[in-house]
């Protein structure tokens, strides 16, 4: 298993990440490898990291943005059809 993380964070402070279980890990510019023994903070992927020679040297927890609510109700068939047809645009 190999874990990699994008060095640059996004607008919410989160880092794109991959944990590869099977197959070759892709070589991606701007990404670093997370050492196997490194324990991920609870806030992952919202972390602050320091990278040395393509390897994450340290990873610390940071504030996690509030999670958005799950969608509560499904649209009706008419609403779906209107969206597809562009009605109301």
């Amino acid at each position: 298993m190999k874990r990699i993380i994008k060095i640059e964070s996004n607008e919410f402070g989160g880092h794109d990440n991959m944990t590869i279980y099977t197959g070759d890990a892709p070589e991606i510019d701007g990404w670093a490898e997370i050492p196997e023994e490194m324990i991920l903070p609870f806030s992952f992927p919202f972390v602050d990291i320091e990278v040395e020679d393509g390897i994450v040297a340290s990873m610390t927890q940071r504030e996690v943005p509030p999670s958005p609510p799950e969608p509560e109700e499904q649209p009706t068939t008419d609403e779906i059809l209107d969206a597809l047809l562009g009605v109301g645009e």
């Binding site: 996004n10 607008e11 919410f12 989160g14 880092h15 794109d16 990440n17 991959m18 944990t19 590869i20 279980y21 099977t22 197959g23 070759d24 890990a25 892709p26 070589e27 991606i28 992952f44 992927p45 919202f46 996690v64 943005p65 999670s67 958005p68 609510p69 799950e70 969608p71 509560e72 109700e73 499904q74 649209p75 609403e79 779906i80 209107d82 969206a83 597809l84 562009g86 109301g88 645009e89």
Partner: protein, 200 residues
């Protein structure tokens, strides 16, 4: 196998058969220095070998030519498997609604996205390709919420072996960032599992 090495190549002895005209028993008289490997079933296609090939290919050959044909077919199949690739990985969503890009180490042909403990959009946990319009949009994933229909559009770059997911929805509808992230399978804090099959 060994060739027969004869002192007198081709020499035979003919012994008349008693009571039968013009009928002879023959025997080699070539005085070999090396007997050579006999040409028979045991040396060409022993039963054990035929059975083993049958177990491998599904057809038990009765002739050496059939055995070679079956093995050739099996090797072709193995070649296809050798050139096939598979990868399985996961990622934790960051909540970003901008185009998401996944880099592979091979050209993915079929990709499965599975959201842990939840549903992607319209109460579906697993999405695969949608060949509705393969000429311009290889495949899409649709989601809906109270805002309206929206979907994720995929595009692939062979040069970089990158599969990108972009949000696509009606310009008139006020989609939330969360909806866009959900459509892109990038809901903050959610784990997504990906299995991809492809070729080198």
């Amino acid at each position: 196998m060994q060739d027969r090495v004869s002192t007198y190549p081709g020499r035979i002895t003919l012994t008349p058969v008693t009571g039968e005209s013009n009928t002879y028993d023959w025997a080699r008289a070539d005085d070999p220095t090396v007997d050579g490997t006999p040409l028979n079933k045991a040396t060409f296609l022993p039963d054990a070998v035929a059975s083993a090939i049958g177990a491998l290919t599904g057809t038990t050959p009765s002739l050496p030519s059939e055995a070679l044909d079956a093995l050739t077919t099996a090797l072709d199949t193995m070649g296809l498997l050798y050139n096939s690739k598979i990868t399985a990985f996961s990622y934790v969503g960051t909540g970003s609604s901008s185009t998401r890009t996944t880099t592979f180490s091979f050209h993915p042909r079929i990709v499965f996205y599975i959201k842990e403990n939840g549903y992607i959009g319209q109460n579906r946990q697993i999405y695969t390709s949608n060949s509705e319009n393969t000429s311009t949009v290889p495949w899409q994933i649709w989601i809906y919420d109270s805002t309206g229909g929206a979907f994720c559009t995929f595009s692939y770059s062979e040069a970089n072996k990158q599969l990108s997911r972009s949000f696509n929805g009606s310009a008139a509808l006020p989609y939330s960032t969360a909806t866009k992230a959900e459509a892109l399978m990038n809901t903050s804090g959610k784990t997504y599992y990906v299995v991809a099959f492809g070729v080198k």
